[in-house]
Subunit: 532 residues, 2 copies
């Protein structure tokens, strides 16, 4: 008997498209004599559908799609994640479809409501068994979080005599998470002496990346199959003793690279953009962002603009032109000096008697934002922002300036890691795609004469671990100092992070690659009197 894991990429909200994709995979399964084909969690609606779930018309359309899919299960059964609804109460559910009928429905019992998850906002927990007789086998169905809790339904399913357990998931990626998943699934297989099928979504959805990497483990805890990472896959398994197919695993830096590629591609194409545009400053951040965009979309879909000011080094344009040449992308130059002068003239009366400060710096950054958005509005291109997580953490970024854009490509990557990514890319391509000059130069915003990041920030190898402890691990000032950092530096960094919450509140969506990105998984009040 053959079972297929349909590791597909749904689009949130696009029930029609998701339904068609499911039916295509069902038809393929039938052709390949597969008895049962499994689809991920909430595959009909896409995950997470968020407040679309408050629309009755949306939930209704999702239920109708399941009925249509059911009619296509001649000869091949299916398990499909969808939203069930009874008298207005919603459940995160799995439909068991066989012989053109809805044979049963399982309701997720354990609803995650932490981190990026808000499932208790929408769903009621299930109370009935996940044991079903389908395709000639007694299988136990669980949904995502169900198997992550210690008090999980698996021992109960074992008692009911299931031969096999199937977990359908919508488990978002962060770097290194795959190890947690593998260990967990193996542990659950061994605890219950049952083979485990684990099926995950792949695809990008706003800030979240789903990495796929579906698994099959034997009841002895041996890995029998691992599906592709960051790609759709259709994996068939015929028994639970022999290896089916085990895809190569990736190092952390490679998986971050792949996650971002997928994140860009899905954000751009699922939202109907044809091209992206970004400002090239001659620095490492915009160089890495441009390269990732080219790898995700192709060189013909990426455009760069350099916007030198009177404070720009000669390298700012030259290095960007070299980068654009290496990448094969179009690159234009719009100097901002005259525009900047026109602002100073306009603001002459207001600024009279004041010294050059961050206000004049930001005017320049916002001119660049305005120029990028002008091209975006004229031609419909998506603007990518290029800020990294270190900058975004301490507010070393201009709101409505370099923060202007629809997608923040590397906003969850600390600066030191951005260099690592640059080197990884050049090694992977076996050539100097990102020019050595860009990698070697000292970081600078070039918004005043001889400005260096190090004028106002600690060196990144010091800054980044402090930020990681504070932002990602919720450590207190005392705990961070106890890690061996200078007390004054820690206090300064924490203050900078706290003071720039308002900027992040208006930031573009950023692709999440760590356990704690800025965005849906981190919800700090803006009006906030807490001081460490």
């Amino acid at each position: 008997m053959k079972i297929a894991l349909a590791q597909i990429n749904p689009t949130v909200g696009d029930i029609q498209r998701n339904k068609n994709k499911i039916i295509e995979n069902l038809n393929r399964a039938r052709k390949e004599n597969v008895s049962l084909v499994i689809f991920p969690e909430l595959v009909v609606t896409g995950y997470p559908p968020k407040d679309l779930l408050l629309k009755k018309s949306f939930v209704k359309a999702n239920k109708e799609a399941v009925k249509e899919i059911a009619r296509m299960t001649t000869g091949t059964a299916a398990i499909v994640g969808f939203v069930d609804e009874n008298k207005g109460v919603l459940h995160n559910a799995a439909a068991v479809l066989e012989n053109e009928e809805l044979k049963g429905v399982y309701h997720k019992k354990h609803l995650p409501n932490y981190d990026v998850f808000d499932e208790k906002r929408y769903f009621a927990p299930g109370s009935t068994s996940g044991s079903f007789f389908v395709a000639g086998k007694k299988v136990g169905i669980t949904i995502c979080e169900d198997i992550w809790v210690e008090n999980n339904p698996l021992p109960g399913l074992k008692k009911e005599g299931v031969e096999l357990t199937i977990n359908i998931s919508g488990s978002p990626f962060h770097a290194g998470k795959r190890m947690l998943r593998e260990e967990l699934i193996k542990k659950r297989a061994l605890e219950n002496n049952l083979p485990m099928i684990y099926l995950n979504i792949i695809g990008g959805q706003d800030d979240l990346i789903f990495d796929g990497r579906s698994y099959v483990f034997s009841k002895k805890g041996e890995i029998l199959a691992r599906a592709k990472s960051f790609e759709e896959d259709f994996l068939i398994i015929s028994d639970f003793e022999n290896i089916a197919r085990i895809e190569r695993e990736q190092e952390v830096i490679e998986e971050i690279y792949q996650a971002i590629i997928l994140g860009i591609r899905d954000y751009v194409f699922k939202n109907g953009f044809k091209k992206v545009i970004l400002g090239l400053s001659g620095g490492i951040d915009s160089a890495v962002t441009a390269t990732l965009a080219v790898h995700a979309l192709g060189a013909d879909k990426v455009e760069g603009i350099t916007m030198p000011s009177e404070f720009s080094s000669s390298g700012s344009v030259d290095d960007s032109v070299q980068l654009a040449k290496n990448l094969g992308i179009k690159c234009e130059t719009v100097a901002i000096k005259e525009i900047y002068q026109s602002y100073l003239k306009g603001l002459h009366q207001q600024f009279n008697g004041t010294f050059f400060n961050v206000a004049e710096e930001n005017v320049q950054a916002r001119i660049r934002g305005n120029l990028l958005m002008a091209v975006s509005n004229k031609f419909g291109h998506l603007v990518l922002t290029t800020g990294n997580k270190s900058e975004l953490s301490v507010g070393y970024a201009t709101l409505y300036g370099d923060m202007s854009g629809g997608l923040a490509v590397i906003s969850d990557i600390f600066k030191v890691k951005v260099y690592e990514l640059a080197n990884f890319i050049n090694e992977r391509e076996e050539k100097e795609v990102i020019p050595k000059e860009i990698i070697d130069k000292e970081p600078s915003a070039e918004l005043r004469d001889n400005q260096k990041d190090s004028d106002s920030l600690p060196p990144y190898p010091v800054l980044d671990p402090i930020l990681q402890a504070y932002v990602e691990e919720d450590k207190s000032k005392e705990e961070i100092i106890a890690l061996g950092f200078n007390a004054e530096t820690v206090a300064k960094v924490i203050k900078l992070v706290d003071r720039s919450e308002y900027k992040r509140n208006q930031a573009a969506l950023g692709i999440r690659v760590t356990p704690r990105a800025f965005g849906s998984g981190r919800r700090i009040p803006i009006t906030n009197g807490w001081r460490e």
Copy 2:
């Protein structure tokens, strides 16, 4: 025996300040021979503390504050909302403090996790009784949501023999909600034949406004006391049969006005701003916003800038100057024509062969945003944005342009209601504060020749109810058409709303006055294939 309701305004995160405020009120209660003083839900941390609750140092500081407050309860007992923590598990809790000791703790049983609430993200539900003997009385404590559910703890408390029930709340305002509260409290009093004390926070916290309006009802369901709206109060009640003090109630338009005044004031001062600045366009939105800011902060703390372009009508400056004169605020003018021309020159190559369109319109709006932010960055003033809910719904606003700023004052008020508010203000002041010319002129963005809002949008009296049905009530296209609106218009409006989700994702915080504002209570995916 005297009981006091301390309806105070805490600041989220500022445990030190909240603790001091609580102790001041305790001291006042003691002086007035009050036996028991009651403080609102989570008064120690402020509400909602959001992800500050993930910081162990924060939770610890909150517990230490309760210990300090306990030591101040000589002669006067207190009930204080705080975060309890046992082995890492958090509870939304009420501390019963008497004779310098922590006498008991109640854990909220029903945790709201819908709308703007995420309490299941942080708290575990309580399982122990809310019945305590304090200040010589057997009282039953509940926290906010506890009394809103049908399966509530009140009948259980009645059985335990409590003489009185006390509900401490952090219940955010929306227009008309007071009626729901009054009816609910009255109903619960009658159901259980028990007097009810209901104590709410007052204050603004980011998008949320807490309106106070604490109540006391007799066991017969008669109102005995109503505290002030949108103001701190210290209300003393001596028995549960006679009227103590009943503050005047307000019409809906007046309470919206008061809510916004409080929202501006608390956002500005709690965040340490000294002044606000806003662009005055000569239109109704900026006029109403400026007036509300002056009423909230005083004329010396508000500055206007007019930024006419070549497309501005003569009224745009004149009417703004008149408004500024009426309000007694400083108003400067920075013409944007030359700056705009410098952009067109800079973009000459890129825009060559294209027609004037939304790109050129947005360049102008973004010049204005840049100018306002430049003054903000130079002098530290907060920029107020002036967009209304109708515009924000359909995306008739420029991201990084007129959407630039820290607080959106009227972003939860539809255009028709903005006019109502303007008239209410003029009537309230018994003079023409907002010039008649501004109220009477046809709405226009003035970003191209002879532009009118009605060129691209349905008339506001048609647009607003469609938006209300779609945005606030989650009605489907068919349901809205069935209300009697033109099918084509409805389809167009829905499309505009759906397409501008990305703008709202980067919008400033907006003061919430309806049950469904853009912001924390509405979470629509940006990548979203759902089409009604």
